[in-house]
């Protein structure tokens, strides 16, 4: 009896970790392996997670290709894609920021796509030179001001550093890619010395940092600040709910380099299990799906020939800084350093 106990218990002792490992492996059998012998499928890793479901549904209805997707933050999804390597289930990567898609391309995670449909629909400035990524919508990071308290809004990014906005400026923290890409665009347009001076003048105005464009606009409306920087579509969303929302857009630097353009972009992964379907989805998003993709979120379509949402007509025409878009990824590290140096929070 004692001998029997001793043996069986010791085996149990050794085996607990192994048994656990086996259980985990057994769980793995049920998941992960897509059964794609019959249905056509495309898998998307997307850092853009608002308004994508209706777009994908429409694509599935028109093409019969099922879309599987997972959402997350751009850098974390990129880390996952890097780790997975050749085993990745991802066919398409979609980001909410130009720098993040370019960083994925620089890391060798994206494969070049040679497509006349894509090249025809998307302007050259809005796709990478080697065809690894294509913009699908434009979002303008612009000056927002209170229509109730500001008669003469600033007309350039630099003017936000004017002392008259001391304590009245709202900005998004430097952790956010939108802030980083704006500074990268300034670096591209006016160089390091001037960009540092601009950012330092913002910081000297003791800005209120809010990590949400929606909350920034609400803070402007509520009187917590008078001027701010946010993406254009956030005002579109708020004015769609309340046409009287007391905030307006001033397009900056119209006589110079123009308003900063950021993009939602996508690229086919280097190890895509379903590259044909991925290209089909990408082409569809750049053409048939352009209007749904951009307009549902009040963004400007990447294809300038596609009409933006009606609400955006009231925002007016503007000059935008298309020249910087492809450089935002390369300048990201410099932008982060500069923000740090300027003590931007």
């Amino acid at each position: 009896m004692a001998v029997h106990d001793r043996t069986s218990l010791r085996i149990r002792g050794i085996g607990i970790a192994l048994a656990l490992a086996a259980t985990l492996a057994a769980c793995g059998d049920d998941d992960g392996a897509p059964d794609d012998t019959e249905a056509r499928i495309v898998t998307v890793y997307t850092g853009r997670h608002y308004g994508i479901e209706p777009v994908f549904d429409q694509f599935t209805a028109q093409t019969g290709i099922e879309v599987r997707f997972t959402t997350g933050s751009d850098p974390e999804l990129r880390a996952r894609l890097t780790a997975e390597g050749a085993n990745t289930p991802a066919d398409l990567v979609m980001t909410a920021d130009a720098a993040n898609i370019e960083l994925a391309a620089q890391a060798g995670l994206l494969a070049p796509v040679d497509s006349e449909r894509l090249d025809g629909a998307i302007p050259e400035e809005l796709r990478s030179a080697d065809g690894t990524w294509f913009s699908l919508s434009r979002r303008i990071r612009t000056i927002m001001y209170s229509t109730e308290r500001v008669a003469e809004p600033p007309t350039s990014y630099a003017q936000l550093g004017d002392p008259r906005w001391k304590g009245a400026l709202c900005l998004r923290p430097s952790t956010h890619p939108y802030t980083q890409s704006l500074v990268a665009a300034l670096l591209n347009s006016v160089g390091e010395t001037e960009t540092l001076a601009i950012v330092e003048s913002w910081v000297a105005n003791d800005p209120l940092y809010i990590n949400s464009d929606t909350d920034i606009l609400k803070a402007v409306a509520a009187g917590d600040c008078d001027v701010a920087l946010t993406n254009s579509y956030y005002l579109g969303r708020l004015q769609n709910e309340d046409p009287e929302f007391p905030v307006a857009i001033e397009w900056p630097d119209q006589d110079a380099f123009g308003a900063h353009v950021n993009v939602s972009a996508a690229g086919v992964t280097a190890n895509a299990p379903h590259p044909a379907e991925a290209i089909e989805l990408l082409e569809w998003l750049a053409t048939t799906g352009q209007s749904t993709f951009s307009n549902a979120n009040f963004e400007y379509p990447a294809d300038p020939s596609v009409a933006p949402a009606d609400l955006l007509v009231a925002f007016g025409e503007f000059t935008s800084d298309l020249a910087s878009v492809r450089r935002l990824g390369a300048l990201n590290a410099a932008a982060v350093d500069l923000l740090s140096k300027a003590a931007y929070e």
Partner: protein, 526 residues
């Protein structure tokens, strides 16, 4: 004889090694850069953000620790010694803030207080600390209450008979006796504060944990982030050591109390004061957040925002329960097994145990990325049948969650085992029982308190967890926390209300289970 004894113990050591390697892999991957420290990165960090990060981290940590220790201990004491109407119910309800995730409490308070304090005033380290105290004090409360309940009434009576006033008896006898429990509760609070990245960002508090992600994800400079992560792990290790120190060498054994500390009849004024304080805490910590969430949930229903991209409420609840359930079982089995293996094996084994439990001292996103890297390395070997992959599988997700949270059950069982009287073990061995039989038949039954409390704490943590679930969940499997993130990352509080409430309800069920375990005579140990 000595050799054969050593051989006897070899399989145990092997099992410990396997568990430690598997559990520590994600953290090890991240800490790897320590091998190649880059001086330039340190210099840059020191010149720019690091001093501010350290100041913020220390300020937040100290404030939240002081706040939770004061609130948790005071509540536990009055609930233990005062008799007042609804005492049992209030005693239970005081634990429920544990079910409210910090980031949910954070956005509720951010929105609620932006009116009176203004958008600028509300984004302060003090409001952040207050929100954290209100969700984290139950850790201290639970441990302190268990400690006070355990104390023998005779001890306090003796103190009183020796001339102590009632307050003096508390300060000089009850409180020092509860010190190990307070240290354990405080250690959990400290871990939560040090690894938080959701709540602090809402309030613009830039802690070291936030800095790890800022540097890592901001610049792609993984060396810098890893070095910051090492700072963070070092701090956590120091805190654990401090907790051990505070717990002290002394074993407090009290004459096994046939008379536990009983409730006393108090003056009507004192009773009213005690009740009012408890209810005030409940209103601020539970009623206000829940009321705001319910209000938003009705608005969500009115405006048709009660489903997410992945499905309806049932889909998210089922996935949340399934993932939390499996992860909890794995954490408890793994934690208990490791604690038993490590026990009686000396200092080296204890250190191994600490290493395996490091996942709890690291921010979730770091574990998430570390786990992806570790699992993907296994996937590349193609060891699994049928081309199955661990990354993106339920197994992979459960693994990463276990890495993060199994320390909660491990530390509970480990500390419990230390309190098993050596005589009980020795007599069993003398009677011929093998170590494993002693563990299963004598030691584990004696620490059933920790065994029962562990799963509830792990389940609550898993339900609230976000970054690991977000990065590692299988396709189409969204949990409540993922839904909350989808909404709150766009500041859509109304959309976040339904899943947040559901999460609170699920958490409260787990809290109920925890309290049931405690009422049945189990005790929280850590």
């Amino acid at each position: 004889m000595a050799v054969s004894r050593r051989l006897d113990r070899a399989p145990g050591w092997l099992a410990i090694l396997v568990v430690v390697v598997v559990a520590a892999a994600p953290v090890a991957v991240v800490a790897w850069s320590l091998v190649d420290p880059s001086g330039g990165v340190w210099a840059d960090l020191w010149a720019t953000r690091l001093p501010g990060m350290i100041t913020d981290t220390v300020t937040l940590l100290v404030t939240v620790l002081v706040g939770t220790l004061l609130l948790g201990t005071a509540l536990a004491w009055v609930v233990t010694v005062h008799r007042f109407p609804g005492r049992r119910l209030i005693g239970w309800l005081l634990v429920t803030p544990l079910a409210i995730p910090g980031y949910v409490a954070g956005f509720v308070w951010l929105d609620t207080l932006s009116g009176p304090l203004g958008a600028r005033g509300v984004r302060s380290i003090w409001v952040c600390a207050a929100a954290m105290v209100l969700t984290l004090y139950p850790y201290v409360y639970l441990f302190a209450r268990a400690a006070f309940r355990e104390q023998s009434a005779d001890t306090l009576a003796a103190a009183r008979s020796l001339g102590c006033s009632a307050p003096a008896a508390f300060w000089r006898v009850a409180l020092p006796l509860a010190r190990p429990a307070l240290a354990a509760g405080g250690a959990l609070v400290a871990m939560e504060v040090l690894t938080d990245v959701g709540t602090v960002r809402l309030f613009n508090v830039s802690t070291v944990a936030d800095g790890v992600l800022r540097v890592w994800f901001g610049t792609g400079n993984r060396d810098a982030a890893s070095e910051l992560a090492v700072v963070l792990i070092g701090t956590a290790v120091a805190l654990i050591a401090l907790e051990r120190g505070l717990r002290g060498r002394g074993r407090f054994t009290q004459g096994s109390a046939t008379r536990r500390v009983g409730t006393q009849r108090s003056t009507p004024v004192a009773t009213a004061g005690v009740m009012a304080s408890c209810i005030a805490v409940l209103v601020v910590a539970v009623a206000v957040p829940v009321a705001r969430l319910v209000g938003w949930a009705f608005e969500a229903r009115r405006t048709g925002q009660t489903v997410s991209v992945a499905g309806d409420l049932a889909h998210h609840v089922v996935n949340t329960l399934r993932i939390a359930g499996i992860a909890t079982v794995v954490c408890v089995v793994l934690g208990t097994a490791l604690a038993v293996l490590v026990h009686h094996r000396g200092r080296v084994a204890t250190v191994f145990g600490r290493v395996a439990a490091l996942g709890y001292a690291v921010p979730g996103p770091v574990v998430a990325v570390g786990a992806v890297i570790a699992l993907a390395a296994v996937d590349r070997r193609g060891l699994l049948p049928g081309g199955s992959l661990l990354v993106g599988s339920l197994a992979g997700l459960v693994y990463a969650l276990a890495v993060r949270f199994f320390a909660v059950s491990y530390q509970g069982v480990e500390a419990g085992l230390l309190r098993v009287p050596g005589a009980a073990v020795a007599s069993s061995r003398t009677l011929g029982a093998r170590p494993w039989r002693v563990a299963l038949r004598v030691e584990l039954p004696m620490v059933r308190g920790a065994l029962l409390a562990g799963p509830a704490l792990v389940a609550i943590d898993t339900v609230k967890e976000l970054p690991i679930t977000l990065l590692l969940r299988p396709f189409g499997v969204d949990t409540l926390s993922v839904w909350v993130w989808q909404a709150t990352s766009e500041s859509l509080w109304v959309q976040a209300a339904v899943p947040s409430l559901a999460m609170v309800v699920v958490g409260m069920v787990a809290v109920g289970a925890l309290l049931y375990a405690l009422e049945r005579g189990a005790e929280v140990v850590s």
